[in-house]
């Protein structure tokens, strides 16, 4: 599991996750996700390269997202594959955090 960040125009922090967000993957990204969430105002979580998402992996995304939103920030989940999106929908997260498949739409959501 890999995690990288990039600052986009408009004060958007893009966090790209790459790999399997299972229990081991969640442990790898958990600390860094929380550090990013501690300062980001507009967070784009790029899920394009996430090949698996379990509930521990979900927690590693959702609780940092909650921290951002609780400070008045915005979060969007970007381009999950079909199965990952199904996990988001089934767990109810898909209705609480916007999910966008186009980058323009994701950026507009954070605007």
């Amino acid at each position: 599991m890999q995690i990288s960040t990039e600052e986009l125009p408009g004060g958007i922090t893009r966090v790209a996750l790459d790999g399997r967000m299972d229990i081991a993957g969640a442990a790898v990204v958990d600390l860094k996700m929380n550090l990013i969430a501690g300062s980001a105002k507009k967070l784009l979580v790029d899920l394009r390269k996430v090949t698996f998402l379990g509930s521990m992996g979900l927690s590693a995304i959702v609780f940092p997202a909650r921290a951002v939103k609780s400070r008045g920030g915005k979060v969007v989940l970007f381009a999950p594959n079909e199965m990952v999106e199904s996990v988001l929908k089934t767990s109810g997260i898909g209705t609480l955090i916007p999910v966008c498949h186009e980058l323009d739409a994701a950026i507009a959501e954070l605007g």
Binding site: A24, S55, S59, R66, E82, S86, V87, T90, L96
Partner: protein, 157 residues
């Protein structure tokens, strides 16, 4: 799953009740998936349901006690749909533990409503909902000294 030659995956995996041990499950599932040509989406569903079931056992069944036994067996059976399609097969995973009786399915007989906001979100409770969605068949049985959870995934229709 016997008699398939030396390259066949082991039919049973024995774990200890610690989250670190769950890293052994994915290679095992991958080997089974390769052996039975399991489609990627079904492989995802199997891994998801096993991870949820096993983490439930560790956290709720054994209540965090490490070094307790958990076993997973994998068999291929005729799917219930076999009446309509004689080629239907089901990959069945049977997870057994020695924890006190713990029926994960009863806990959500009435599923908790989805959280209305992120602030209401709880760190647990999503696993059963995910298993119900992604496993084709899900049953729990109390054993004399533990629990048995059976999950079935139809391979062909």
């Amino acid at each position: 799953m016997t008699g398939h030659g030396p390259s066949s995956p082991e039919p049973r995996l024995t774990l200890k009740s610690q989250l670190e041990d769950l890293t052994r499950v994915w290679p095992w599932v991958e080997a089974i998936a390769a052996r039975y040509s399991v489609p990627p989406d079904t492989q995802f569903a199997i891994q998801l349901c096993l991870e949820e079931a096993l983490s439930n056992i560790i956290r709720h069944g054994y209540q965090g006690q490490a070094d307790q036994p958990i076993s997973i067996a994998c068999t291929v059976e005729c799917a219930p749909a076999a009446v309509e399609n004689e080629h239907a097969a089901e990959l069945v995973f049977t997870v057994e533990d020695h924890a006190p009786p713990f029926d994960p399915l009863a806990r959500s007989a009435v599923p908790a409503p989805a959280p209305a906001s992120l602030q209401e979100l709880q760190p647990s409770g999503r696993g059963i909902r995910l298993m119900r969605k992604f496993a084709g068949r899900l049953t729990w049985q109390q054993l004399p000294n533990g629990n048995r959870l059976t999950m079935g995934f139809v391979l062909t229709r």
